[in-house]
Every structure is written in C-alpha cells, then in structure tokens.
C-alpha cells in the first residue's frame, strides 16, 4: 500500500464523484465547477503517469480556457438558476440504465485475465516537455500544421454564426 496507490484511489474516487456531480447538479454553474474539479483529478492521474506536461496543459486549456468559456456563456445567458425542466421519468431512467449497462458491458468485455502492471511513477521522464516538443515538431509536424486549418475553419465558423446583424 504505497503512496502512489493511495493517490490513485483518492484521485479516482474524486474524479468519479465529481463527474457524477457534473451530470446530476440542477444548476449548470455547479456542474461546470465540478467538471473543473474532475479535470484536476484527471490531471493528478496524468502526473501519476509521468505525463507532467499534459497535466499542466489539461489544467490550462481545459480547466482554464474551455471551462471559463463555458462559465462565460452560462453567465451571458444567465442560466445560473435551475430552469431546466426534467425529461419524462421513463426516458430518464432508461437513459440512466443504458449508461450503466454500457459501463458494465465495456468493463466485462475489456477485462483481461492477466493485465500488465504499470510501474511506479517517476521512472523515466519521457512525459517532459522537451521530448513532447521534439516529437511534435519532427514526425507530428504535419498534423500539427493541419490542426491550424481546423482552428481556422472553427474561427471562421464561430464568426459566421455568432456575428450580430443578420
């Protein structure tokens, strides 16, 4: 029962709990906050797996930028009160059950008898930024460039759609 195992269990519990909260809170603002919490938990996992850079990026990009964007939109529409009316009961329950089923089926399907073991964290530093950077700008340069087109189109789209006046 070493420290990393404890950390794992703690973070996992946190992640699951907070993500559950995300989908159960009435008030969207709470959901957002719980989602951020989830991201923190996941970043913690990243660190446990020597993905330090990703952990940081996750916090900056997701918890930082994206979630703030969400909050911003919510505030803009001042949806920060429980306005959402419920689905009808049957659909709600069947949906919940379906989600549970999916989980069970996937776990049952992907459970391997003799799983490989992950070593303790800290062994090797391949998750460091210089390694990632090197890979990103050598063999992954093409997708990197192409993602710019993705952003470009997203930008154009955002403008086209949300620009006021017709």
């Amino acid at each position: 029962m070493n420290i990393s195992l404890i950390a794992f269990w703690f973070l996992s519990a946190l992640a699951v709990f907070s993500s559950l909260m995300v989908i159960t809170r009435k008030n969207p603002v709470y959901s957002v906050l719980y989602l951020i919490l989830t991201f923190f938990a996941i970043s913690g996992h990243y660190i446990l797996m020597n993905a330090q850079f990703l952990a940081i990026v996750n916090l900056i990009v997701y918890a930082g930028a994206i979630m703030v964007l969400f909050l911003f939109v919510l505030m803009l529409m001042n949806l920060n009160k429980e306005t959402e009316q419920q689905k009808n009961k049957y659909l709600l329950w069947s949906s919940a059950i379906a989600g549970g089923m999916l989980m069970i089926v996937l776990i049952a399907a992907l459970d391997t008898p003799y799983p490989q073991m992950l070593e303790k964290p800290g062994a090797g530093n391949f998750g460091m930024i210089q390694n990632l950077g090197k890979a990103l700008f050598t063999e992954y340069v093409v997708p990197f460039e192409l993602s710019s087109i993705l952003f470009l189109s997203a930008m154009v789209g955002a403008v086209v759609i949300s620009k006021k006046g017709d």
Partner: protein, 458 residues
C-alpha cells in the same frame, strides 16, 4: 497530398476574395475557378505525383484508388458549384466564408481519404465535421436550420467521443496508431483491439449514417439549407465512406467472420429502415434524406467484402450517387414547394428539367441505362463474389431496391402524370443545359462504366 495542401491554401484565398470582392456572383466565379484548379491539381497528382513532397512520417499515403475518388468528389463539387452557386449566394451574407469552409472541408476530405494513422483519421473527420456544423446552421434566422445545427453538433461530437475511446483502446492493444501496425496476428486477439475497432466502427457508421446510428441524418438534411444538404449528402458522405473503407481494408481481414456478421446486420437494418421509412414521407427533401440512408446501405456492401468488385463498385457508386443526388437537389432547391404535390405537372412547365430529374431518379432507383444500375450491380456482385453465404442479405437488398422504386417514382408520377402547377424559380437556360449535361453523364456512365473505371488502373 495536393488536395490537402491546396485545399487549405485556396480556402484562405477564398476568404481574401470575400474581403476584396463585394459582388456575390464574382465570389462564386472565383470559387468555381479555384475548385476547378483544385480538381486539376488532384488530377495532376494522379499522373505526375504531388507538387510538394512532404515527409508525412507515414501518416498519409495516397493511392490511385483514393485519388480517383477525390477526383470524383472534386468533379462533383465543380458541378455542384455550377448548378447551385446561385443558391449558395441566397443562403446568407458570408458567401465567401461558405466557399472557404467548403475548401477546408476538402482538406479534411484529402486527409480522411489518404490517412494511414488514426490520428490523421481523427483530424480529417473533425476538419470535415466542424465546418459542416457551421454550414448546417448557416441560415441563422431559420429555426429549422438552427435546430439541425444543434442536433448535428451534439450528436457529432458524441460520436467523436466514441471514436476517441475506440482509438485509445486500439492504441492500448497495438501500441501504435498506424493502420499498418494493427498486429492482430497474435492470439488470442486482444479484447482492447476488438472493442476499439467496434467503437470506431460505430462512430464511422454514424458518419456514413448507417442504421442504427443514422438518426441525425433525416433531421439534419431536412433542416440544413438545401444547397448544403446536397453537399453533405454527396461529397461528405462519399469521403466518410472512403475513410471507413481505408480503416477496414487493412485490418479486418483477420476477424472477418464476426465483422461480416456485424456489418451484414448494419446493412440489413440500414436498407430496411432507410427504404421503408422513405415510403411514407410527404416532403421530397426529407424523402431524399432517407433515400441517402438507403443508398448508404448499398455502399456499405463495399465494406462487407472488400474485393475487386467493391473497389470498382464504390468508385462507380460514388460517381453515380453524387451526380444524381446533386442534380436532384439542384432541381429541388429551385422548387417553390418541397412536398410531392409541389411537383405536380412539373413536366408540362419545365419539360427539360423534368426529364433530367427523371434520369436522376431512375439512376437513384438503379434502373438500367443509368449509372445507378451498375453501381448497385457492382455492390451486389462484390457481396456475392464470396459465395452465397449471405444470400438472404442480397435478396433483402434487392427487395429494398424495389421498394425504393416506389418513392422515387412517386416524384416521376407527380411530374408527368399528375396535373397541377409546380412553381420553380430562376430556371435559366444555362441551368437547363447543365442539368441535361449531367443527365447525359449519368447515362454515359450507365452504358459504359468502363469510361470511369479505367482510371483505377495503369
């Protein structure tokens, strides 16, 4: 490769054109020229290789097959611009941006048809999807358009999530994203891999709107501006198919039995739901949406057994289906009323247009002398080449084909045999000639498909 690079560049160019040119017509002209240029460049690559040699670290690899399909899509898009440019201008103020997005989509198409790495597949699909969300919602004031955009976006990103899960599992199994590294040889086949493939299958099935992942299709096609529906239903769908095929042609030979079963079920459902639901539609546009599902069912045969027939078949099908659908949507976009009654007595008013439309519908229904016949024919043949194991599926497919006759011919009946005053706007002579030319193309393909297929070789 050219398609990817120049698609992006020309897209950017279009945006500048939007700033420089105020007149929408001119923008359309420029777009048309650029699209022709793009087509030429792709054709150039077919014969002389790419213009710029980029080290893609074996993430992209072009083959004659996918280049030809790109060429078909580009050609279809040129025709699409010719026929529907006017309608694109009508959608909204950001004509240049719409065109630009279409060019960006072609970049995505280029990626999705030539990827050898799941990362590229993912990027390609996203580069195709994200602009489409926007085009769907382009008609901002129209609630239908908005609704369609929202639905499309939510479900699309949901399927993206599923795809990512699948990719992750595959990575876990093989330790690589390269298609070539699907090392399924060792037994027992890793569960992760099977699960991953399954999830990717699901998400791709979603993209090509195969039942039971098709639910977005009718609503989105119906809600989106008709021009963009036409684009989505043809070029994008074909691209998705090519991506789908590429994904499986290498990998799935190993676990064929299971896959064939899964895919045969999907095909059967697609054909049944698509065709049968289309029967009772009241709006031609929505009927075409369902028919596109049904057609997808036939195209899926290419995955069912990826052999010589399927290769030729999917090429032919892409061409036949795109031409006919684009033509039909172009006519539809001109109509006052999208319901079947809206076509009553159309042949009296616009005999030429009605004739062309008839050819398109016959082609969609797969009647001989039109391209549709041979495309369907090749698909069936591909499935039969492996022997009569799935005969029931073929019989079902054929029966569904005859069901499809029902709803396609309803339009013909309305146009020719019913009396009424169908109203069509802006039917210029140029438009008529173009339509007839496209119809002629459909017939030529229907009489000698070799004319197209020969480009697969040498």
């Amino acid at each position: 490769m050219n398609l990817i690079i120049f698609g992006g560049l020309l897209g950017v160019l279009m945006m500048f054109a939007g700033i420089l040119l105020k007149d929408k017509r001119q923008v359309s002209m420029v777009a048309l020229l650029l699209m022709v240029a793009l087509a030429v460049l792709n054709a150039w690559e077919m014969n002389h290789g790419p213009v710029f040699h980029v080290n893609t670290a074996d993430m992209l690899a072009t083959s004659r097959f996918n280049l030809l399909l790109n060429e078909i899509m580009l050609g279809a898009c040129v025709i699409y611009f010719l026929l529907s440019g006017r309608d694109i201008e009508k959608v909204g103020n950001y004509v240049a941006e719409y065109y630009a997005l279409i060019f960006f989509i072609f970049t995505g198409v280029g990626i999705a048809t030539s990827y050898t790495n799941l990362l590229m597949l993912f990027l390609g699909i996203e580069i195709i999807s994200i602009p489409l969300y926007i085009l769907t919602g382009a008609d901002k004031r129209n609630l239908k358009s908005v609704e369609a955009a929202l639905k499309y976006f939510l479900m699309g990103s949901f399927s993206t999530g599923i795809m990512l899960m699948g990719i992750a599992l595959i990575y876990g199994a093989g330790g690589s994203f390269l298609l070539s590294k699907f090392n399924l040889q060792f037994t027992p086949i890793s569960y992760n891999l099977v699960g991953g493939l399954l999830l990717i299958l699901v998400s791709m099935a979603f993209k090509v709107s195969a039942v039971p992942f098709h639910f977005w299709t009718p609503d989105v096609y119906d809600g989106a501006p008709t021009v963009f529906t036409s684009f989505m239903a043809t070029i994008v769908k074909v691209a998705a198919f090519v991506a789908f095929i590429k994904l499986f042609e290498g990998s799935y030979g190993i676990i064929q039995e299971k896959w064939q079963l899964v895919i045969s079920i999907i095909i059967a459902l697609t054909l049944l739901i698509g065709n049968i639901t289309a029967v009772f539609q009241q709006s031609v546009k929505r009927m075409l949406a369902y028919s596109s599902i049904a057609q997808a069912g036939f195209m899926l045969f290419a995955l069912f057994a990826f052999n010589f027939w399927a290769r030729e078949g999917i090429v032919l099908y892409a061409a036949a289906y795109s031409l006919a659908t684009i033509g039909m949507f172009a006519v539809l976009a001109r109509m006052e009323d999208f319901s079947f009654e809206g076509f009553n007595g159309f042949a009296k008013k616009e005999p030429v247009v009605a004739f062309a439309a008839t050819i398109f519908l016959l082609s969609l229904a797969g009647i001989p002398i039109t391209a549709g016949f041979f495309s369907k024919y090749y698909m069936v043949a591909s499935a039969l080449a492996g022997g009569g194991k799935y005969l029931w599926l073929l019989v079902l497919a054929m029966l569904c084909a005859s069901v499809s006759v029902y709803y396609y011919f309803r339009v013909i009946q309305a146009m020719y045999f019913k009396t009424g005053d169908a109203v069509a706007h802006a039917v210029t002579p140029a438009f008529k000639y173009l339509l007839v030319a496209v119809a002629a193309l459909v017939i030529i393909l229907g009489v000698m498909p070799q004319a197209l297929l020969q480009y697969l070789y040498f």
